[in-house]
Symmetry: C2
Subunit: 614 residues, 2 copies
């Protein structure tokens, strides 16, 4: 007989230094799966609408999922869940690397960090042993150095997540980095600032336990059978990384250019993955359990943008710190990326803050007096690099930019809120809803604000098919009809991937709904149907929505910024402006939400979320 | 030779009791005409973005125009201009009655009230003599009684504007009443609260001077020649008043029903002007210099809604306090109207506040505990009457409702902001943009928030033609194309009517652009072309916009509430939702405003508003 599946969570209180082990029973796990699903459930219970994200009342949750640390492709991920200091609502941030498996091998599925240390600390987990240690020697160090120092101290096999100066200084979009110079980031919405507010510099994990598999032999066989196809189908990602698509994205009006203003840009070809391969690329690298290898290391051996071999920029980074700022020098983008990684800054929000700043500068709303002398002109890469430092060190205008676009545009005033490109306070990632209309609905309804990963439709609307979700052919990217259902379906699947917890790129290698259901059943011993699987995704998505509703979110917040709703950018997006309201009405109907975006009683009952009926 | 035209303004400082006479030279008057045009110019100069609307720093401006007090039809009007405590931006409120001519006959074109009295006062202006008198015996009295008492004290020929308890108690949508029980109101956006904050109960005017006419004989002749047509064309208004159109408005989805939610409603025929004529109507009445006579007196001789003969409800009142609250009892609407007039409450915002409250009550966001025991159910007219008193007396939920929808929806929370139907804080009047799309653009761009009078297109989109503005036929009310220009053209004309200052209904009697230009020239001795005339309207409209831009207004504020943008109400509006962004892009282009709704340098130069170029 297969033993009941359960999860073990360590609750670590930094105020009291108390540690508490919690077991989540199978029934609960079946409802919320793991990763962001269980994370959302825990966050809902630990916090409420009065919780200040940077206070000791907030919790910082690290969660793995049932597949983490198994042989499932790219399953070595974890999710960080907290109340965001950038947006004030639910947030989650997914991270690759190797830390997830490290935690799992300690016998833990997740950690909840409570309270707040008086002085900087870090946590070391070695199997059952959890130690809170002084981090006074680490505080102020960058993430590459911190990773090295802790490994030297404890073991080279240790896996470390840590924050840099951005998190320490409570920059509202500070991130958490795993794997040191092969940086993988839990990037978005300021999870690093929450870690900083708790004075927690790092968490190291080193375990020796086996990850449980219910039907091990069958599982191993199944994964083995899928491997050749997975390797074959993901060749472009391996060869050119995520920035493989820069030129395509420019051509369809997806790549952001000049703070989302401009349609086309010659510079795109100088910042693509193909161009990187000819210039700065050193080699590709893999997260744990990955056969795709989209990571790039880059090296610049001389000149003022010199960097030692380390993680190169992703597509998002290139879009936000490159084209969106009209910076077409790949060396500068690599340097900016390296600075962000070392300081622990989200490259997306950093690029967004700087492109916003450049537009405000062009429009005369800010001057050199505000920027500490920097000429924040379009394409001025040196000023961009300096501004990154100012954001981290909270100097001059960098201090305000580090508070996020909502606050910055409010304080700068004029009409700067008109070109502050965010949803619910979270900056846009580098995909434009005017180029692909499903992205409009995805951003407007994503539970963490403008997010390309909660729906992840941009690669499927005009690109890959997804037959076992009912999408056999590529769709018309400007057509509104049918897109609501498309987004809903993908949000359910993505909720599951964030909970299981796997990399979304494995879909391209054939790991779509049906294989995922099979793998989940083989690992847990469950008997989920495809319907059960997608319904769990729906339940999780709704639970996050309920968290946000408690914070006051409703339809008014499910919107897009003026630049996107009102300015036709031209280029590959032509004159298209997304008809958001039409799609949103359809979306709410499909979801069983009322006209304000609140799940109805019937919906909550259907999803076994009865305790949320009011 | 015709003497140069000029205007005389009395600046009355209630803090110091100092009085100052200002002369506006012809050049300035030619640019801004009078009424709301000169008012906007004065307000721009007297206040700034730091001015608290209810502080002594705000000014309350009463302005007449060049045509006020002349034989021009319905020219006995005046405009109240101030910074609104309801919206925080520019506001104006137009009023009929007889007070405008009274002021003009004192030799004054306007008054600027500055400062703030220590104790309640009222002002009496008799020709040159301006006296500030104690109003301790008037404070707390209703507007009908106040009007009577001052007339008894000074002269039955005195014209009085005054506030009631709502203005005294700083209800954010308190109004100013002229003509006592034949109430005419400067209704909107809380001009009465500003008057209350200055502890100014009333202003009485009694003058003996002649109003100057440059070409008197020709002018008299021209007006005389137009009179028969004017009388003939306005018969329906004379017979049934403004509520003549209730059933038509219901049939085209223009009349608000159930807080703008519902499409059709049987009750409409029980609250129409025709029904009033068969029941409560006593007689019709006229403002000064008017041959239309749309005013109604009503009388209810017995029962619990008994009222003495006094002003009956207008269309707007019937829409907002009647159909929008599902109240189909005309006696209750008359009683509610009488209460609002006596207390000095804007019937539009009062109806809006109560329909909002009824929806919040239905949705369980507020309960009987909040309402002081009132069951705020749809159609509960008795509760509606009690809630009016609570708003005035600032009791229970009435206190919050008296702060306006922005604050009320914020404090009530839940998703109540989703059904708070306003633009820029000003409640919708009783015309629905889903039934006539030009209204969408008119409301979104009106300088005082949701206003049907700054564009006044609802009667021309599906109704009257306006050949000398280029609109020879009625338009398709659901068609978006061409509506931006339509709204711009009408906004220019309406800016002029609010500045001249005449009643807008005279258009229906043939007093369109060309006759108006002629009349203006005959009165002032100017030589305005039609182009000059409309350009002055454009200049005035832009000046108000510049005031609001200084307050932080931009495109983000030129929007409509969720209920209107997202909820198809059905009925005569069908499934139509206005495509606001499309129209707004076109509108900005026509206006010469940038993408954020800011007039470009070229536009400011063209309109001789160079001092506003930044």
């Amino acid at each position: 007989m297969i033993p009941a599946y359960f999860m073990k969570i360590a609750e670590i209180n930094l105020t009291t230094e108390g540690i508490n082990l919690i077991t989540l029973e199978e029934k609960e796990v079946k409802k919320f799966i793991g990763g962001s699903g269980i994370g959302a459930k825990l966050l809902y219970d630990y916090t409420d609408h009065k919780t200040d994200p940077l206070s000791s009342e907030n919790v910082l949750i690290f969660m793995t999922g049932p597949l983490t640390g198994t042989k499932t492709f790219s399953s070595n991920r974890f999710e960080v869940i907290t109340k965001s200091p950038l947006t004030g609502i639910y947030t989650e941030s997914d991270c690759g690397g190797r830390w997830g498996e490290g935690l799992k091998k300690c016998g833990l599925d997740g950690i909840v960090i409570k309270g707040e240390a008086k002085k900087p600390v870090y946590i070391i987990i070695k199997d059952e042993e959890i130690k809170i240690k002084s981090a006074s020697h680490l505080w102020g160090k960058d993430t590459f150095a911190t990773d090295n120092l802790i490994k030297e101290e404890i073991s080279p096999n240790l896996q470390v997540v840590c924050i840099g100066k951005a998190g320490e200084n409570l920059v509202k979009f500070a991130c958490i980095i795993n794997e040191g110079k092969h940086a993988r980031a839990a990037g978005r919405a300021g999870v690093g600032a929450v870690m900083g507010s708790k004075k927690l510099k790092a968490i190291g994990v080193l375990g020796t336990k086996e990850v449980k598999i219910a039907h091990e032999q069958e599982f191993n066989q199944f994964i083995k059978s899928l491997t050749p196809y997975m390797v074959d189908q993901t060749e472009a990602l391996r060869k050119y990384g995520t920035s493989n698509g820069v030129e395509y994205c420019e051509s369809v009006g997806d790549l952001p250019i000049k703070n989302w203003y401009q349609g086309n840009w010659e510079g795109a070809k100088k910042i693509s993955g193909q161009y990187m391969a000819q210039t700065v690329l050193k080699k590709n690298y893999y997260c744990g359990r990955c056969v795709i290898g989209c990571g790039r290391t880059v090296e610049i051996t001389e000149g003022k943008y010199k960097i030692e071999e380390s993680a190169g920029p992703e597509y998002e980074t290139i879009g936000m710190l490159g084209s969106n700022c009209l910076v077409d020098n790949i060396e500068i983008i690599c340097k900016a990326n390296e600075l962000c990684n070392r300081y622990g800054l989200d490259t997306i929000s950093t690029g967004s803050a700087i492109s916003f700043c450049m537009e405000a500068y062009e429009r005369g709303l800010i001057t050199k007096e505000d920027t500490g002398g920097l000429k924040m002109e379009w394409g001025n890469g040196d000023a961009l690099l300096e501004m990154i430092k100012k954001i981290v060190n909270r100097q001059d205008l960098g201090k305000l930019l580090g508070e996020g676009l909502v606050k910055a545009s409010k304080e700068i005033g004029g009409n700067s809120c008109e070109f502050a490109v965010h949803v619910k306070g979270l900056d846009f990632p580098a995909h434009d809803p005017r180029g692909k209309v499903s992205v409009a609905l995805g951003y407007a309804t994503s539970n963490r604000g403008a997010c390309h990963l909660q729906a992840f439709t941009h690669d499927f609307e005009d690109g890959a098919a997804m037959p076992d979700l009912g999408y056999k052919e590529t769709l018309d990217r400007f057509e509104t009809n049918g897109k609501a259902k498309f987004v809903v379906d993908f949000q359910h699947l993505m909720s599951m991937l964030d909970s299981l917890h796997c990399c979304k790129f494995i879909i391209f290698g054939g790991m779509t709904v049906e294989p995922l259901v099979k793998v989940l059943n083989l690992v847990t011993g469950w008997d989920f149907s495809k319907k059960d699987f997608l319904e769990a995704g729906e339940r999780i998505f709704n639970l996050k929505r309920l968290y946000n509703i408690r914070e006051g979110v409703s339809r008014k917040d499910d919107t897009l910024p003026p630049r996107i709703l009102t300015h036709p950018r031209g280029g590959g997006a032509g004159n298209n402006l997304p008809d958001l309201n039409k799609m949103l009405n359809e979306y709410y109907q499909i979801r069983g939400w009322d006209e304000f975006g609140i799940p109805t009683k019937e919906t909550l009952k259907r999803l076994e979320l009865e305790e949320h009926i009011k």
